[in-house]
């Protein structure tokens, strides 16, 4: 199930809220756990077994480590076992085809690829269970003795599908001691509506533009159309992903959880380094915590630091998808991060601020081309056209049409990519009571109403063969 669907908002959510809030406190984790399983099983009935296995497996690992705390051989063994099994599951379902294809082309052999659909959210929950076992091993958190509580953590439906990746240590206390409140619920509702609007109104609509431009043969593209297209994608992926994260965090709050922020206006960054502190924050900090720092981070000299960065960004790229273009995309960022560390950040410091912004946005936008084209050669052709290395015209009538029919949407996307709206709302709240009690609730109600209209329209499916 996805949040941005009628069935979630108007059937699943109200039923779960109802059952959850009429249940006594000690039953709530169970209700939440079962709700999460239904949420997951909806459309993925078989793969729920993998998730349940993951849950039980790491629950036991936590207990084992705790029991044999004195015996470092055993605890180490349990830890390694957990890492191998968790990553094994992830690799099997996500990377099996990719690995086999590469082996095939490398050795010119022909091993059959079994195409398995990717289990929903597997990249997210394996990272969560993994972080739990590691943290228990490092004695950073106490192991969870209650399987329902642990299940609640792993399967937590608000962040199950697309994050944020919650570390056990962040919610350990809340799982058993959280206090729901109407204030928290209201905050959650606000975030949910905002996230829903980002996804349904903004991301989906600008996505149409990108899909249109992407479908045009490269020989018929103009230079400005390629820019327009990839900028549309730049907006689409941000509003889609951050909208989803907002909804997740909002839903969490409705049930008393405070999940970490996952996006912080990434497109206003003044450097690539800053961008990665603002984009998919929970993933970045996971890799820092569980890969970069254990490898030695920056404490063992330049060479080792570069090696560590290389590994982290190779894996970050790979995490996004089982394809070389994602790895290339990760390493592309690695290069810019290293360049920034060595000299660029210093150099940019005393230059006008807009230069930093332009530089950063350019890197990001070109990066999305690498990210979006699974066929690397196609992506490179697209980049070539963008920078005028082709016989494509600067613009054509299509460019003009796409530009003016999307102008309002693009302007809206641009504004919403900056903290401007948030700041304006804060000001409004601070200065006038009416803003707080009337204007903002009305805006949110209207947004909710419009989102409903867009979601209902998704089912508008005229039978097109009208017997011409």
């Amino acid at each position: 199930m996805v949040f941005s669907s009628l069935i979630f908002i108007f059937v699943f959510l109200p039923l779960v809220l109802l059952v959850y809030y009429i249940s006594p406190r000690e039953m709530r984790n169970l209700v939440f756990f079962i709700a999460s399983l239904i949420f997951y099983a909806w459309g993925e009935p078989v793969y729920i077994l993998i998730m349940l296995f993951s849950t039980v497996f790491d629950y036991l690992n936590g207990l084992l480590i705790d029991k044999y705390r004195e015996n470092s051989h055993i605890t180490k063994l349990v830890l390694i076992n957990s890492i191998v099994i968790n990553l094994g599951i992830l690799c099997f379902f996500k990377y099996y085809g990719f690995i086999v294809n590469n082996i095939n082309s490398l050795f010119d052999i022909n091993i059959k690829v079994i195409k398995l659909p990717l289990p929903l959210g597997i990249s997210f929950y394996t990272f969560q269970t993994l972080s739990y076992t590691i943290d228990v091993y490092l004695d950073k958190v106490k192991p969870q003795k209650n399987i329902i509580s642990f299940g609640t953590y792993v399967t937590m439906f608000p962040q199950l599908v697309a994050g944020p990746i919650v570390r056990y240590s962040d919610v350990a206390w809340e799982i058993d001691n959280r206090i729901e409140s109407s204030k928290l619920f209201g905050e959650g509702a606000e975030l949910f509506i905002i996230g829903l609007s980002k996804k349904v109104v903004l991301a989906n609509n600008i996505g149409i533009l990108w899909n249109t431009i992407k479908a045009i043969p490269t020989s018929e593209l103009s230079i400005l159309s390629t820019w327009l297209g990839i900028i549309a994608f730049t907006f689409q992926i941000y509003f889609d992903f951050s909208g989803y994260s907002d909804m997740a965090i909002g839903l969490g709050k409705m049930f008393g959880f405070k999940l970490m922020k996952n996006f912080d206006y990434p497109y206003i960054s003044k450097s690539v380094t800053e961008f990665w502190r603002r984009w998919h924050i929970s993933l970045g900090s996971w890799f820092r915590e569980y890969v970069y720092i254990p490898l030695g981070g920056n404490r063992e000299g330049r060479t080792k630091q570069y090696r560590n960065l290389f590994i982290v960004w190779f894996l970050t790229g790979l995490w996004h998808g089982a394809n070389w273009n994602f790895i290339l995309w990760g390493l592309y960022y690695c290069i810019f991060l290293i360049i920034e560390k060595t000299f660029l950040q210093k150099w940019l410091k005393d230059k006008p601020i807009f230069i930093s912004h332009i530089y950063t946005l350019l890197v990001i936008i070109v990066g999305w081309v690498l990210f979006e084209f699974e066929d690397i050669s196609k992506g490179l052709i697209f980049i070539k056209i963008m920078f005028g290395f082709g016989s494509n015209p600067l613009y054509d009538s299509r460019t003009i049409y796409y530009l003016y029919t999307n102008a309002i949407l693009l302007a809206l996307l641009g504004i919403c990519s900056t903290p401007f709206v948030g700041k304006a709302i804060k000001k409004l709240k601070g200065r006038f009571k009416i803003g707080e009690y009337v204007v903002i609730p009305i805006i949110l109600a209207v947004l909710l109403f419009i989102c409903t209209a867009y979601l209902v329209d998704e089912s508008y499916n005229p039978f097109l063969y009208f017997r011409f």
Binding site: G43, S182, F185, Y437, I450, T452, Y454, D457, Y460, R467
Partner: protein, 379 residues
């Protein structure tokens, strides 16, 4: 201060809950609908709950469809979305442009070279097979070309005129290409296309009739030969449904009824019934009012007229022909209409057995290039 903050949050929380609650309430109160006229399809009904259904995954997907299809005030919400799109400056939805003066026009996408050649080849091979019969071909441009001035500024559509000419030049000389493009271009300020439907109006068909008569060598009746009756003024056609735009003027449907009464028998083969009228007036109460002409499309029908000149015409056609044929009944004794999309018999036998004198192939540009049934024409 802290307290005021809380009550503001409470308002927002309550809004969400009340909104969802109300929708659920309406969902229960309002009874389910069977059919959507706008979409021309059956709406999903509450699926039967059984464990078998659940395991097959059918229940889940059907239940989701059911929730969206039966959503309270569904049509209203779809209208709201359409308004939002319009406010945001969008000019196109689902392949339909919102043009000036409320004209909806469907996008034309050029055919692939190979496909183009294929279509010409089958027609030419048909021409060889029927060498002794007079053949005429009308390719009707769509509103998206003739009314291109009304399209949104610099809208991305391919040029129908270019491909019409390519067809004209590629056809066997044995087929007379009746070019209606120029006359349509001249008359583009008249009401020759519906605003909300993909067809030509009866007036458009009349101009094609005049052109065809010249080509076939008979004198067409003039406009004052007919009583022009306005039989519907609230016609919202296929493009209205497809594009989903709201707040648009409806179309009129006019019938050209000869002042001198003519008698016909229309025989519908598949349905196995006959009628003494070219029009099915009941259809004017339905959504798709264009089906007033000859009751829509049929694999095969025959019209006998009281013009006893012995001339037999076969029309191989799409639905544009339905509003043209009423003009031709004054000039032929027998008219057969074959719609290749539904016609499953042997075309060669049919032509041989029925002593056809003239064959008219009539398609609009879009359906000629987009519908593959034309390939059934050669044998």
């Amino acid at each position: 201060m802290n307290k005021t903050n809380n009550s503001h949050k409470n308002i927002i929380g309550s809004i969400l809950l009340i909104y969802i609650g109300l929708i659920m309430l309406f969902n229960i109160i309002i009874s389910d609908k069977d059919f959507s006229d706008m979409e021309n399809r059956r709406l999903e009904q509450l699926p039967k709950f059984s464990f078998e259904n659940i395991f097959k995954g059918q229940f889940i997907s059907n239940f989701e469809k059911y929730i969206s299809d039966q959503f309270p005030f569904r049509d209203f919400f779809i209208g709201v979305k359409s308004y939002c799109e319009r406010i945001s400056g969008k000019k196109e939805n689902n392949g339909v442009f919102l043009g000036e003066d409320g004209y909806l026009m469907e996008k034309f996408n050029k055919p692939h070279d190979k496909d183009f050649k294929n279509r010409i080849d089958v027609i030419n091979s048909f021409a060889e097979n029927t060498a002794n019969i007079n053949k005429y071909f009308i390719l009707v441009p769509n509103s998206v070309k003739i009314l291109e001035d009304k399209l949104p500024y610099s809208a991305p559509v391919d040029d129908e005129y270019f491909y019409m000419n390519k067809v004209k030049n590629g056809l066997d000389k044995n087929i007379k290409f009746v070019d209606v493009y120029d006359i349509f271009w001249d008359k583009k300020d008249e009401y020759i296309y519906y605003k909300t439907d993909h067809h030509w109006t009866t007036k458009g068909a009349f101009y094609a009739y005049e052109k065809l008569a010249k080509s076939m060598g008979f004198y067409p009746h003039e406009e004052d030969y007919f009583n022009i009756e306005n039989v519907a003024d609230n016609f919202y056609g296929s493009l209205y449904s497809k594009g989903g735009f709201r707040n648009i003027d409806s179309d009129d449907i006019k019938l050209y009824i000869p002042k001198k009464s003519e008698n016909y028998t229309v025989k519908y083969y598949e349905e196995n019934n006959t009628s003494d009228s070219l029009y099915n007036m009941d259809n004017l109460n339905k959504k798709d009012k264009y089906t007033v002409f000859l009751n829509g499309n049929h694999p095969l029908l025959k019209i006998n007229t009281n013009i006893h000149n012995g001339k037999k015409l076969l029309i191989i056609k799409d639905s544009y022909a339905n509003s043209l044929v009423p003009f031709l009944t004054g000039h032929f004794n027998e008219i057969y209409m074959i719609d290749l999309r539904y016609f499953e018999e042997d075309l060669s036998k049919f032509i041989k057995n029925n002593d056809i004198d003239d064959i008219l192939i009539l398609y609009n540009v879009k359906s000629f290039f987009e519908d593959d049934s034309i390939k059934k024409i050669s044998w």
